[in-house]
């Protein structure tokens, strides 16, 4: 019952199969389980459906699985950063289902929490509502959306203990906590592995029950998509800055 595996390949051993649905955490390149994504590529599994907010960029994250044509379908909210994506989509090789970002997040949360469907204002009167039930509650219209549940989820956390309890860091949290709850098997890559009891139990973001397998990736390469900075002499103001 040891949850800790020595590397990403062994953590995924026997789990990845052709045609399965996989959730992958991250927003842009922030908080993506890149080592596990590479191991999925190495598994050679094909016809995969990925549920992930973005599709990586060319050559990074899910972009790697586009290169090898292992992805048949993406369920995402924004894929604008990826040229190969556009190309495969336009050629009909790749299927795409857009979800509003909040609807996607909530569908995943619902899937993990045993809620098969819920109503949201988001998308009423838009293409997103087409073919879906629209119902009025207290005089306002809402669309019914379905929960999402995957075969496996791969997530990235900052810290994890041997029980599988996870802590995320800053905005690298994003989709990871919900995805950890919404698959038959969740595999987490963690930057820091500690013994059970080391993390304050009030500060655990994902309880260990959701994490079946863990792999320690001590020094992951973290990429920045938009490196924006300000000059030292600039007076700081909330949210202000200039692009370089």
């Amino acid at each position: 019952m040891d949850k800790v595996f020595s590397d990403a390949r062994s953590a995924l051993a026997g789990l990845v199969k052709d045609g399965m649905t996989i959730m992958a955490g991250g927003f842009g390149l922030c908080g993506i389980p890149e080592t596990l994504i590479e191991a999925i590529r190495d598994s050679g599994a094909k016809d995969l459906t990925f549920i992930s907010n973005n599709a990586g960029v060319d050559g990074v994250g899910l972009g790697r699985l586009l290169e090898t044509r292992q992805i048949r379908k993406m369920i995402s909210s924004y894929v604008g950063e990826n040229k190969l994506f556009a190309q495969q989509y336009l050629s009909g090789e790749l299927e795409l289902e857009f979800n509003p970002q909040g609807t996607l997040a909530e569908r995943i949360r619902a899937g993990g929490a045993g809620i098969p469907a819920f109503f949201t204002k988001t998308g009423v009167g838009t293409l997103i509502a087409e073919g879906k039930e629209v119902r009025e509650f207290d005089g306002e219209k809402y669309v019914m959306e379905r929960g999402l549940f995957a075969d496996i989820s791969v997530v990235h956390a900052y810290k994890g203990d041997t029980e599988g309890n996870l802590v995320y860091r800053k905005t690298a949290r994003n989709f990871n906590p919900m995805m950890a709850t919404a698959a038959k098997i969740t595999i987490a890559e963690i930057e820091h592995l500690v013994p059970a009891g080391d993390i304050d139990p009030d500060q655990i973001h994902t309880p260990g029950i959701f994490v079946k397998r863990l792999v320690h990736v001590a020094n992951p390469i973290k990429r920045i998509e938009q490196r924006t900075t300000r000059k030292r002499e600039t007076v700081a103001s909330a949210g202000a800055g200039e692009e370089i």
């Binding site: 997040a105 800053k170 905005t171």
Partner: protein, 221 residues
């Protein structure tokens, strides 16, 4: 003279109130943060899971784990909190954000907004825009008045909608319009950019609108 991007952002900043929690879209809306009046407490939300967004980092201090919804490196403040995307959009959908300022391709006189796709072109996705316009208490659009001489303020949007009846205020380079998104009083021109006339605006606008310059409507929260 039409307003510059900075002037449009400065005008949008007048919609801020002390204690507001605000979500700013990319482009001109991002500039609004430069015009928050001194002493006013405004917290910026970034829909990827952060409240209390700080300025861009000093060079060399970028943190790949700390980005905004435009994927730009940012910093944290003493007020900052982080949370998941589900909690972030719960905050948005639940009406807890006071104000969203964002760009648009088209706005209709009934408050419809289109800003996410052009049929026939490769679609990048709506990201969090549909959630923001549907969920945030008050939606302010900041955009150029026309796109290559084509009006963007229309009787009805002809691009696929981001939201239906969602816009409260439109700030263009030529002026400011209120919209009664519940129907009722429709669209009203309430301010002109310096040197711009209502007639000029009329000529560049497809939407029907009333003129009530000097009205205080834009202050209605």
């Amino acid at each position: 003279m039409a307003w510059t991007r900075e002037q449009m952002a400065a005008r949008a900043a007048k919609e801020l109130r002390d204690g507001f929690y605000v979500n700013l879209g990319i482009g001109i809306p991002t500039l609004v943060s430069n015009f928050i009046p001194a002493g006013m407490r405004v917290q910026l939300q970034s829909e990827n899971g952060m409240l209390g967004m700080g300025p861009f980092p000093f060079e060399g201090e970028e943190d790949p784990d700390l980005i905004n919804a435009g994927k730009q490196t940012i910093t944290e403040l003493p007020t900052t909190s982080y949370f998941s995307s589900a909690d972030s959009f719960g905050m948005i959908r639940g009406g807890h954000i006071d104000l969203s300022i964002l760009g648009a391709m088209q706005v209709a006189q009934n408050g419809d907004l289109a800003n996410w796709m052009i049929p026939g072109k490769m679609v990048k996705g709506m990201g969090g825009a549909m959630d923001l316009v549907a969920g945030v208490k008050r939606v302010v659009v900041v955009m150029e008045h026309t796109a290559k001489d084509d009006p963007k303020l229309l009787k009805a949007c002809n691009l696929p909608l981001t939201g239906q009846g969602v816009v409260d205020l439109v700030i263009t380079d030529l002026g400011v319009f209120t919209i009664d998104k519940k129907g009722g009083t429709g669209m009203t021109l309430i301010e002109l950019a310096d040197g711009v006339t209502a007639e000029e605006i009329k000529a560049k606008t497809d939407a029907d609108f009333k003129v009530a310059l000097g009205s205080k409507q834009s202050n209605a929260a």
